[in-house]
Every structure is written in structure tokens, then in C-alpha cells.
């Protein structure tokens, strides 16, 4: 269905309104296989909304989104199936509080992918080990620190063997001392060639692994350029102001 050249995620002039308020205006961008794209911009500029349109969590009214050859906006598209191979990591972790860490890691594999409980547990624990939390396997989310919960959330997304990962400000709810343990996991993922779309203000992460940086303002993509271009001579004045603001914090 997809030739290797076609983008993994392809947004074509996507627009979205909440009533009369336009949240997204003609957003166009592509994410190739293995590419890491960082999305930044001021609060309320539509970053979360944009990233949620990619896996159909937010409907949109105009334009087209093609993920791995499948049209997200098409009413005939099997959204649960599409979502099952796009991992998503949220600002507030969103682990399921009433399930043990192991159950959090297996529920999707068992209920969506139809894996056996044993197979799912094996795969889940391997990923838990990878994020350095195997000792916590029988605990509950409420017993873990924020940084640990977010690492479990990443392992949970990976347990579905995703072809791409979406991150929505994965470190902005964390205490500063926990940010790096999460970023380290994400850097490793990027280095292994995972296709990633990451909403974040962690410019250190962007410098280290991003291929491209997208800058959004008031629902529109105002910058979409390579990392070097972005950090070199970010073209729009808004992007420059934004950069100087967050880099001085």
C-alpha cells in the first residue's frame, strides 16, 4: 500500500473549527518514515489539537490526513485499527490507575491485538525493563513518580509495536529533576529510527535528535524547516521571539 518514499504522516491543508473559532488553519506538513519532527509554539496555538487529528482523536472539517496510506478523515476508516499502530504519549501520562503496571502494559496487546496474556506480559515486561522500571511491575500508577509513570506510558505505547509515535508535551507536567529520565528514553527511540511527532518545548531534545522543527502560532504552521535552519535563522519574528523566550528560561 505504501511505497518507501511516501510519507508516514501526511497532513494536507487541515483546518478545524470549534463553532466559529478556527483552531487550525490550512496546516500542511509531512513526516517521513524514521523522521523526528518537533512541534513547538505558544500555549493555545493548536499543537495538541494538531497532533490529535493525526490519530483521529480530534475530528477536522477541511483538508486531508493520510497516515501510512490510510485517510484518517474517511468515515469508512477503521479508526481503532489505525490507532492501534500509532503510539501516543500524553502530558498527564494517563496510565489507568486501577490497573497494575503490568496490566497497563498488556491491556492493549490483549484487547486490541489479540495477543495471549502470556505473550503480552513477556513483551510488556521486556519494554518495562528497557525503560528501567522492571522492579515496579506489580505496583500501581499512583505509587510511581511522574517520571516513572511517563516512562511506563512510553513502554505501554511501544508494547503495541507502533509504526509511529505521537508525543504531546510529555515532560511539561514533570518536576525538573525527572525531565531527563523521560527525554533519555525518547532520545534512544529517535536514534533507533522511530518515526516521531513530538510537541515539546525542550529545545535540547530538538537540537539532539530532531530532523525538522515546526513552529505554530494561532492555529497555523508558520515555520516548517530543518533543525539547522530553525536554530540558525528562524525566519519569522514570532518564532524568534518565542525561541528567545524559552531559551532564556
Amino acid at each position: 500500500m505504501t511505497d518507501p518514499q511516501s510519507p508516514m504522516i501526511d497532513l494536507r491543508a487541515v483546518s478545524k473549527w470549534y463553532g466559529a473559532f478556527q483552531v487550525l488553519t490550512d496546516c500542511t506538513t509531512r513526516v517521513k518514515k524514521g523522521e523526528v519532527v518537533v512541534v513547538c509554539g505558544p500555549s493555545g496555538s493548536g499543537k495538541s489539537t494538531l497532533i490529535k487529528t493525526v490519530n483521529g482523536l480530534e475530528p477536522f472539517q477541511k483538508g486531508e490526513i493520510i497516515v501510512n496510506g490510510v485517510s484518517v478523515g474517511d468515515a469508512k476508516t477503521d479508526l481503532p485499527k489505525l490507532r492501534s499502530h500509532i503510539g501516543m504519549v500524553f502530558q498527564n501520562f494517563e496510565l489507568f490507575p486501577h490497573m497494575s503496571i503490568t496490566d497497563n502494559l498488556t491491556i492493549g496487546q490483549v484487547k486490541v491485538l489479540g495477543r495471549s496474556k502470556d505473550e503480552a506480559t513477556q513483551r510488556g515486561l521486556k519494554l518495562l525493563d528497557r525503560v528501567g522500571l522492571i522492579a515496579q511491575k506489580d505496583k500501581y500508577p499512583g505509587q510511581l513518580s511522574g517520571g516513572q509513570q511517563q516512562r511506563v506510558a512510553i513502554a505501554r505505547a511501544l508494547s503495541m509495536d507502533p509504526i509511529a509515535m505521537l508525543f504531546d508535551e510529555p515532560t511539561s507536567a514533570l518536576d525538573p529533576e525527572m525531565i531527563n529520565e523521560v527525554l533519555d528514553v525518547m532520545v534512544d527511540l529517535a536514534k533507533e529510527g522511530m518515526t516521531m511527532m513530538v510537541v515539546t518545548h525542550e529545545m535540547g531534545f530538538a537540537r539532539k535528535v530532531a530532523h525538522r522543527v515546526i513552529f505554530m502560532d494561532r492555529g497555523a504552521i508558520v515555520e516548517d524547516c530543518t533543525k539547522d535552519e530553525f536554530f540558525g535563522t528562524a525566519r519569522s519574528e514570532r518564532a524568534q521571539q518565542f525561541l528567545s523566550k524559552i531559551l532564556h528560561h
Binding site: 490519530n55 481503532p80 490507532r83 498527564n92 489507568f96 486501577h98 491491556i107 500508577p141 505501554r156
Partner: protein
């Protein structure tokens, strides 16, 4: 005070006044338990319906709650018992009033028929369902919206998200308010006496009328109500502890 009055033979039923009291307890428990089953099933569905993204389901839920919650329980009791048989097709109405009462003779010296009992249970159950529905709805709505998104994002369908994510947490959150609804149903079951169901309150009134031992009759009833409600409270607390989520502190409000 003369507590020995309960050991005297009552004028009917071939039992002592204590027997009458016992019969009242049985019917209070019967009405309350069956009404609770209806209330939790119907209330659960209506409450969930009001949280779905499906417009017609939400509408049905809203209409249900507004109707049943806003008409006084006593009025609903009369509507079920006196008015419903008249507005139903004649054959069905007649069946309710004439055949259902004779379908079987109720045990425990009941001095009323299956029709009074059915009307009381339906009325109390469907009324309480509207209150349960509101508790279920606010329980679900107090959960962070991101939980649903996280479930959907991993490929679960919306019904699967309800089944595995939303409802298990909502269930835990609604146990305390459900305890109070459960207690209310016992207290409200006394309104069934207005349509002739001789439950605990009615029996104590009857005992007091026959023996003039008003203090003893109503003290006994009060003690029994207290024992029932304490039992329920302790049982629900035990359930709450059993299903408690380690490390989870319920947030007030939600996102």
C-alpha cells in the same frame, strides 16, 4: 414501658405482634432490595447514556432523569398505583388490578397483594434510578477526559474504553454516594405504606393502634432501621476497602 406487648397474640395472621414486626421487616427488605436492583441497573444505564457522545442516548437519559427526579416520590407512588392501570389499555389495566393480585398469595402474613408490591418496587426503583444515574454520570465526568483518549489512542473501541477504563474507576468513585442512595431507599420504602404495603413503618403503626403502646412500637421500628442502615454502611465500607486502588487519591472535579 412494656416490651412484653410484642409477645401477645396479634388480632390477625396467627402470630404475635413481634411476628407483625418481623413481617414488616421482611417486606421493607423485599421492597428495598428489588427496588435497588432496578435502581442500579436502570440508573447505571441512564447515567452512562448521558456521558456518551451519542445525542439521542444523551437525550433519553436527560429526559428520564428530569421526569423521575423532579416529581415527588409520594406522587409517583399514587401515579403507579392508582393512575397507571387507568391509562393503560383496558385489558392490561384490569389484569393488573384483578389478576395480578390473585396470581399468588404473598407469604409472611402479608395483608396486601402482588399488585401493591409490584407497584411499590417499580415506583421506588425507577425513582431511585434517576438519582443513581446522576451519581454515575458525575462519577464518570469527574474522571480526566485524557483517560478516554488514552484508551482510544491504543486502539480500544469506545465500548471497550467504558468497559475497561472508565467504568471500573467510576464504580469506585460512586461507592460513597451509592451508599447514601442505598440507605435512602430503605427510608423511602416507607412510602409504600401509602398504597397499602404493610412494611415496617406500617406494621409499627398498626401495632400502636391495636395496643396503644406507641412508644414501644416506634422505638422497635427505629432500632430496626438503625440496625439495617448500619449493616449497609459497614458492608459498603468493606466493599470500598476491597476495591481501593493503591496510591490513587480521587481528584475533586477533574479536567
Amino acid at each position: 414501658m412494656d416490651w412484653k406487648v410484642f409477645l401477645e397474640m396479634a388480632p390477625s395472621g396467627g402470630m404475635t405482634y413481634l411476628g407483625w414486626l418481623g413481617s414488616g421487616v421482611v417486606w421493607t427488605l423485599t421492597v428495598s432490595s428489588f427496588a435497588w436492583i432496578i435502581a442500579s441497573l436502570v440508573g447505571g444505564f441512564v447515567g452512562v447514556a448521558r456521558t456518551t457522545p451519542v445525542p439521542w442516548l444523551r437525550a433519553i437519559g436527560t429526559v428520564y432523569v428530569e421526569i423521575f427526579r423532579n416529581v415527588p416520590l409520594l406522587v409517583q407512588m399514587f401515579l403507579w398505583y392508582f393512575v397507571m392501570p387507568e391509562v393503560l389499555p383496558k385489558a392490561l389495566g384490569d389484569w393488573l388490578k384483578q389478576d395480578l393480585p390473585n396470581a399468588l398469595t404473598l407469604p409472611f402474613a402479608a395483608q396486601f397483594s402482588l399488585w401493591e408490591l409490584t407497584a411499590a418496587i417499580l415506583c421506588l426503583g425507577l425513582y431511585t434510578a434517576s438519582r443513581v444515574a446522576e451519581q454515575v454520570r458525575s462519577g464518570i465526568e469527574s474522571l480526566p477526559r485524557g483517560q478516554t483518549n488514552a484508551g482510544l489512542a491504543m486502539g480500544l473501541t469506545l465500548p471497550q474504553v467504558y468497559r475497561h477504563v472508565t467504568l471500573p474507576m467510576a464504580f469506585r468513585i460512586v461507592i460513597p454516594p451509592m451508599t447514601s442512595e442505598f440507605l435512602t431507599i430503605f427510608k423511602n420504602s416507607s412510602t409504600a405504606l401509602t398504597i397499602g404495603v404493610l412494611e415496617l413503618t406500617a406494621q409499627s403503626r398498626q401495632i400502636s393502634e391495636y395496643t396503644f403502646k406507641t412508644f414501644e412500637a416506634f422505638t422497635a421500628a427505629t432500632l430496626i432501621y438503625i440496625v439495617i442502615t448500619l449493616t449497609v454502611t459497614f458492608a459498603m465500607r468493606a466493599l470500598e476497602r476491597r476495591v481501593a486502588v493503591p496510591g490513587f487519591i480521587a481528584q475533586a472535579g477533574g479536567h
